[in-house]
């Protein structure tokens, strides 16, 4: 009875606490699940969770999805056990490399945007109650829901509390850096930070390294733990292996029809922002690569033909996974990845502590948003990266989701669209909506616009149609 009470959820419970219960469901999934078995499970799940599970557990990706869900479960479970194990939990944003935290024995990272996304995907009522709580405090409704949903939950004081926050959004995102600052003050927990110098010159890069080293020293001081070279080597070894696998997966995207399922874009960066540097991350990405290689051999694609190959230039939509990722590929629209997949992983030289720290700094400098929005020119760096990706992956259109909070990308979207057309003749669709909150623009409206764009603009311009087989 006592043990049961320990797991009982309060009437108004925080996002992480609720999530920790939901992700445990994946432990109960058998490795092989029949369609009938899945339908039976979905029947008993709340509608929002059932909808996401329908996307995750589509037959063509079911085995990999179960592996991924178990990885997220282990990640969250470790955060809950951190206190018992004498570890400190670091709340980090998506653009901070979690392997830096994994390099410390006494630390564990939780990533606010991943928590928000999992919450939206799996909790009844998605993340709206936490968003509403934050709005109730007076925080602006133009804030980023990716961050604010989790932060709103943290502000309720009925949720899991991290020990410290790292913000590395200074220079690349005002709203997130201000939100982190507010949260740390409100919760009375320490705030460590790393500024991105908006300067791509050698001088700017060196200054960033200097800031990064200071941050590492501050983490060491906070934890009372010096970075151990052997542990770093092990963690970075895993990160290096994951980076190699990332590029294998990248290359698999080049085939047409694309053997990489649309939702793998999300799976990949979900792992990147949480578990990079762990063996679990390597296993999860290996499973993705194996699945795609197998699909390539068999010539599998969910639609009769691939009618469009789209790069999503910044984020995707996460409030209806089935309506977004699965719907597109079932209509022949390949999602080649979005801006959050563009983290340009590199193999780090593990010769010494110094080479590893410098390598980690370089990784941090190239994380999504940091790299583009924290560049000397937001629009130019963003444009360069998207042009490179469209050429690499033979994309025939770009779609900008228009997440309403992203003021930086919104301010570069016009330059992006016109320059992309001038230089590559690739059209861009600009949507408007909130990536994490469905009440801004419903998925049906987004689907309709995407379909019109593909049928009226993209298809008309294509010279070849990629038939399956």
């Amino acid at each position: 009875m006592t043990a049961m009470a320990a797991h009982e959820l309060k009437e108004y419970e925080g996002l992480i606490n609720r999530l920790s219960q939901v992700v445990k469901l994946s432990d109960a999934f058998p490795d092989q699940m029949s369609d009938e078995g899945l339908e039976g499970i979905l029947h008993f799940l709340p509608s929002n969770l059932a909808g996401s599970m329908r996307a995750f557990l589509a037959p063509r990706i079911r085995d990999v999805s179960i592996e991924i869900l178990k990885t997220y479960g282990a990640w969250l479970d470790s955060a809950f056990r951190a206190g018992e194990e004498g570890k400190k939990v670091f709340l980090i944003p998506f653009n901070f490399p979690p392997e830096v935290i994994h390099c410390f024995e006494g630390a564990w990272p939780v990533t606010s945007e991943v928590l928000s996304t999992l919450g939206v995907a799996s909790l009844e009522g998605q993340g709206e109650r936490y968003w509403d709580y934050a709005m109730g405090l007076g925080l602006p409704d133009s804030a980023c829901s990716a961050n604010m949903i989790e932060v709103g939950s943290a502000l309720t004081a009925v949720d899991f509390k991290p020990d410290v926050i790292i913000s590395d959004c200074l220079g690349s995102c005002d709203i997130n850096s201000k939100t982190h600052e507010f949260l740390a003050r409100y919760m009375d927990i320490p705030l460590l930070f790393l500024e991105k110098t908006v300067d791509n010159s050698e001088r700017g890069i060196n200054q960033y390294y200097l800031y990064f080293k200071t941050l590492v020293e501050e983490v060491e001081e906070f934890l009372g733990e010096k970075l151990d070279e052997e542990r770093m080597r092990e963690v970075i070894g895993n990160a290096n292996r994951a980076s190699e696998l990332y590029w294998e997966l990248w290359d698999l995207h080049k085939y047409s029809p694309c053997p990489v399922p649309n939702i793998f874009s999300l799976f990949l960066y979900g792992i990147r922002y949480t578990m990079w540097g762990t063996e679990d991350a390597v296993k999860a990405i290996e499973a993705m690569v194996d699945k795609c290689s197998e699909r390539l051999k068999k010539g599998e694609y969910p639609a009769e033909m691939e009618v469009a190959r789209a790069i999503w230039s910044y984020t995707s939509y996460y409030f209806d996974m089935a309506g977004f990722f699965n719907w597109m590929e079932e209509h022949g629209i390949t999602h080649l990845g979005d801006g959050l997949d563009l983290f340009f992983p590199q193999v780090i030289d593990t010769t010494s502590r110094e080479t590893m720290i410098r390598g980690l700094a370089e990784i941090a400098r190239n994380m999504p948003m940091t790299r583009q929005m924290g560049a000397s020119s937001m629009s130019v760096q963003w444009l360069d990266d998207i042009i490179w990706a469209t050429r690499e992956l033979d994309a025939d259109c770009v779609i900008y989701c228009g997440h309403h909070s992203c003021k930086q990308t919104w301010s570069g979207a016009s330059v992006m669209r016109s320059e992309l057309m001038k230089r590559t003749k690739i059209p861009t669709l600009i949507l408007q909506g909130d990536s994490w909150i469905g009440r801004m623009t419903p998925m049906s409206a987004l689907q309709e616009t995407i379909e019109e764009f593909v049928n009226n603009v993209v298809k008309q311009r294509r010279t070849t149609v990629r038939a399956v087989g």
């Binding site: 005002d174 850096s177 201000k178 110098t197 200071t214 937001m378 919104w410 570069g412 330059v415």
Partner: protein, 373 residues
Amino acid sequence: MNALQCLQSQSTDIFTEYVRDWKEKGGKVLGYACVATPVEVIEAAGILPYRIKAFGHPDTELGDAYLARFNCRFCRACLQLGLDGTYDFLDGIIETNGCDHLRGMFENWQHVKGYEFFHYLKVPHFVREDSLDYFEEELSLMRQAISKYFGVDITDEALLKAIKTYDEIQGKLKKLYALREQARPAVTGAEVMQIICTGSSLRGEDFGALLTGILEEKANASVPPYRARLMLLGSATDEIDLVREMEAQGALIATDALCFGSRSFWARAGGKGDPVRLLAERYLSHLFCPRMFTEYQERWDYILETARRANVDGAVIVYNKFCDLHGVEAVSQRMDLEKNGIPVLVLEKDYGSQADTGRIKTRVQAFLERIGG
């Protein structure tokens, strides 16, 4: 025409007679938008530093074509004036990373107009020895860039002279604030905003001379009766009409913590040594802007000290829709002001929009009634 009338007559023009005259005499003009830009460097080059403003300009159709409706309307209005030719008198622009919207504004402006001289001054978001060193180098690079492009030698002597000029301006503006904040105020909030806005389009020595005249004229003046003394704080606003409208409802904006107000000059004085290092320390250490990270306490101390000095009955936090920095900061400011017994009105508004006027008037009236004004 007295000194204040002289300022008022041009206060909402962009291409003023003063600037026209300066240009006709062969003078150069450099535009900048953020108070983190050390104007002393521009001044020392013999160039007119011109702070980009929009004065509540209501049209944004060109600005909207490049920025988006999710960007701050102040930036869209400034971009509008940049793209429609109003700002064509500028000989170049100094960009700063004041905020994400401002960066977007500059990038689009430059994308369309392609100024030959477009220099990006990168301002760190925190104050530490390493960030100060970096900012000092940034100022040296700005100095070099201006020297090279405009063919002028910016000597240390010229820099020190410009610093002295702005120190004198600061002293005079503080005297003006004393006249504004005293028990029987001699100057209104709208007048002060006019003075500061107009002064940001003048050469330092000319602004200093005008301030001397204004101080003499206002020494024994008094403002009309008012219902309550308010402090105005928040985001970049050069909307003199907005302040005038608030004061028409019976408020007296007795002081402010605005960047078109006291934040543009208050703490920037003192220190000595190498002029570039001095400017780096003065500017980075005293921005009092929410763009600066982990400095809430310093900003709060500044706000509270200002509110107490002016003995205000309430505070109005005003910020433009989609302003991330002030949108978040307003929550803490409201909580802390109220904890200190200062009633607060938070006004999130659309910059320059006539449609917001009625709503704002109603809210200000209601606030004045609430605080017993």
